[in-house]
């Protein structure tokens, strides 16, 4: 690969391992696949407990755990300018050419994108979640997103619904927003070697037991299904504030022997839980993409899910049964799933998933977005300020002020510690790079 096409990418998000979720997963797999494509990738996140400093993980992926303490829901405290020095140092040290931020409510991501734009870098942003427009929290978040995206080079969303949402929230021209879904590591999520007996049908639920994931819906659905089908059992993996309600439901309907509550399931064990079931049940009330469905389908499970957000786009119609988020409709959908279950071959399903989703495909499509971002014309401060001004009569002026101060601070920093004084890191090529990629096919 020619040296010119090699991008040097900094991934920024508050959410990264050891924390676990869709965003963390996405950043890790995308970075790994970009590395195999020959790009250089560096990840920046905040310190987790005593995990602070620089770490090297699989495949020469370098992770900066910036010593910046999270204050709520793993988010760093928003300081606007506090992170400028360290972000500048990392950008210069690693000779970064492009900054890629993840997740709208990550403060670190928002600040990094702002500083990177000030310093003239091209930035790409990926939005992983959906937001409404009605409540105060969403209104505030949408304004912040508008500020971050006002000057972003290109944006990526994980589903078409998410793209519509992001375009509405940020006022970004839709041709600047790309849809690149998540994928699944099909090598890790393999179906059981032998087909399960169909005398007893096992329905698996793996999700955090919170309101947004529809735990209350489960409380209504499970007794109904157990009443209709005496040969159905439930396995529920996950923990959360709504666990008590589920346990109450189990006692009230005396379903102790038919509903297993496993508690939190570590991600490494998810596959072994999934392959013990026939049907995967997702009851989320809002979902931009839902990786859990992919993992289940890759393990050969038939999925029953609520028709919310981006879920209808995720799987072909014959691999998923959709229902409205209403207990009666969900019970009917499960009945339909049980009926078509004999036609489902887990191995076949797994092979289809291999063709439908791969992280390598995601990385290649992301690469195209990076190429586009780098082709965007350079703009000076005045041209960029005019974009911020259009964000609103008051907000626009405020945003401009924030950017001007950022610009001044950046110049002060350059006087105090010129770029030439920052040591550049030599690139290390890893010998075993050729052996590794098979994991992510």
């Amino acid at each position: 690969m020619s040296n010119q096409r090699r991008h040097r990418i900094l991934m920024v998000s508050d959410f990264y391992y050891p924390n676990f979720g869709g965003v963390e997963n996405h950043i890790y797999y995308l970075s790994q696949c970009l590395l195999t494509l020959g790009h250089k990738v560096v990840v920046m996140t905040h310190a987790y407990g005593n995990r602070s400093g620089v770490r090297h993980v699989t495949g020469g992926l370098k992770v900066y755990y910036v010593p910046w303490v999270p204050f709520i829901m793993q988010n760093t405290f928003p300081t606007l300018y506090g992170t400028l020095p360290i972000i500048r140092t990392i950008l210069v040290r690693e000779k970064i050419s492009l900054v890629h931020g993840h997740q709208a409510f990550s403060t670190l991501c928002n600040e990094a994108l702002m500083h990177a734009r000030t310093m003239g870098y091209k930035v790409v942003f990926t939005d992983h979640s959906l937001y409404g427009f009605a409540d105060v929290g969403s209104i505030h978040m949408n304004k912040v997103l508008q500020f971050t995206l006002a000057d972003v080079s290109q944006a990526i969303c994980v589903s078409h619904t998410s793209k519509e949402n992001t375009v509405l929230r940020s006022g970004l021209p839709p041709e600047k927003v790309f849809v690149i879904p998540n994928a699944v590591d099909t090598a890790m999520f393999k179906p059981a070697a032998e087909r399960l007996s169909s005398d007893e049908i096992i329905i698996v639920v793996i999700s955090r037991l919170v309101y947004r994931k529809g735990a209350d819906l489960l409380v209504e659905v499970i007794p109904g299904v157990c009443r209709l089908f005496p040969n159905v059992r439930f396995i529920i993996g996950g923990d959360g504030p709504k666990r008590v309600r589920l346990e109450e439901m189990r006692e009230k309907h005396s379903l102790q022997d038919r509903v297993d509550m496993l508690g939190a399931v570590p991600h490494a064990k998810v596959q072994s839980v999934l392959i013990s079931g026939h049907i995967f049940l997702n009851s989320s009330l809002t979902e931009a993409f839902c990786i859990a469905i992919l993992e289940a389908a890759s393990c050969g499970l038939l999925t029953v899910s609520t028709r919310v957000g981006g879920v209808p786009e995720v799987l072909p119609d014959d691999m998923i049964v959709l229902a409205e988020p209403d207990p009666d409709d969900m019970v009917q959908a499960i009945a339909k799933a049980i009926q078509i279950l004999p036609q489902i071959d887990p191995q076949n399903m797994h092979l289809r998933m291999k063709k439908l989703y791969s992280w390598h495909d995601v990385a290649k499509r992301t690469e195209i977005v990076y190429d586009r971002a780098l082709k965007c014309s350079d703009q000076n401060l005045l041209e960029r300020l005019s974009r911020y001004l259009t964000c609103g009569s008051w907000a626009g002026k405020l945003f401009c002020l924030v950017m001007i101060i950022d610009y001044l601070l950046w110049h002060l920093l350059q006087l105090w510690k010129p770029d030439a004084h920052i040591e550049e890191v030599p690139d290390i090529t890893y010998g075993q790079q050729e052996e590794r990629p098979s994991n992510f096919d």
Binding site: F133, P174, F178, V179, P181, V369
Partner: protein, 303 residues
């Protein structure tokens, strides 16, 4: 790289589908914008067209309660100035209690004898407790200056008015579906603290007893009574409100002209300016709904 619509002949080109699986769709870039883009967006689906008259009539509830609070404050002021004696206060208590029960009995559809007995028992308990405790209230704030007490009372009353639930009732009314909200409880507490503070400035224990009893009756039960009246007949509610406004305005005028002007201004603001304002800003309403909204559960969650 242009947007995908232009390249490859139209005949062989498969149709673009709104799906995320199967990699990049042949012939279309990832930033392709289909005609179906934002097709499922719904704007202003839940907007209610309001008529000026309706809003004005609804806002009468607010001004009615403002008058009630103003009357209580008037009673406090006259008592502090020793214009109202303790005997007159006790008479006032009895009148208010009697009137309240009269309204409750005559407007309620189902009112059993046992419930009335229950009310009487509770009230007698309350009266006894209050009477026993009044010496404590009497000396409660002796070491604090009157100015601080007045200032604190005023701010508590403002807090009370700000958080008061104007559409419901402070205690759970018969047949009301919901329990009082958290903010309305805070509001009630603020008003009771305010009346205790005022009571602690009075000369005798009987004064204290009478004024606290009066204030608690008003703050606790007047919302219930007005709620019952409103449910019984809306016309009666409007009539009562106008009578209350006239009475209050007369008394405030006799107390102080500037206060009268202020109070009159507030009433005009609440009943005329605010409804007009609300109708005017309705046209700026811009509500967006779509598939990205969080689904609402169609059943109640019983914790």
């Amino acid at each position: 790289m242009e947007t995908g619509r232009t390249d490859s002949p139209a005949s062989s080109q498969p149709k673009w589908r709104k799906v995320a699986y199967g990699g990049m769709q042949p012939g279309f870039d990832d930033n392709h914008i289909d005609e179906s883009f934002l097709a499922e967006m719904v704007m202003n689906a839940n907007v209610v067209k309001r008529s000026m008259l309706k809003v004005m009539l609804d806002s009468v509830s607010i001004s009615q309660y403002l008058c009630v609070v103003a009357l209580v404050v008037l009673v406090w002021t006259y008592t502090l100035q020793s214009i109202i004696s303790e005997n007159l206060l006790l008479l006032l208590d009895v009148i208010v209690l009697g009137l309240g029960f009269l309204v409750l009995v005559s407007t309620a559809e189902t009112l059993s004898f046992s419930l009335l007995l229950n009310y009487f028992l509770k009230i007698s308990f309350f009266i006894t407790a209050l009477y026993v405790l009044s010496p404590i209230y009497h000396t409660l704030t002796r070491s604090i200056s009157s100015d601080s007490i007045i200032a604190l009372t005023a701010s508590l009353i403002v807090l009370h008015l700000f958080l008061h639930n104007y559409s419901g009732s402070t205690v759970k009314a018969l047949g009301a579906l919901e329990n009082p909200s958290f903010t309305s409880n805070i509001s009630l507490n603020a008003s009771i603290v305010a009346s205790l503070l005022i009571a602690s400035r009075l000369p005798s224990r009987l004064h204290v007893f009478a004024i606290v009893f009066f204030s608690v009756q008003v703050f606790l039960f007047v919302p219930l009574v007005t709620y019952c009246i409103k449910k019984y007949s809306f016309r009666l509610h409007i009539f009562v409100s106008f009578v209350l406004m006239m009475v209050t305005l007369t008394f405030v005028y006799r107390l102080h002209t500037l206060l009268f002007v202020l109070f009159f201004g507030v009433l005009v603001f609440v009943n005329l300016v605010c409804p007009y304002w609300l109708i005017r800003i309705q046209e700026y309403k811009f509500e967006i709904n779509g598939p990205w909204d969080e689904a609402k559960l169609c059943f109640d969650i019983t914790e």
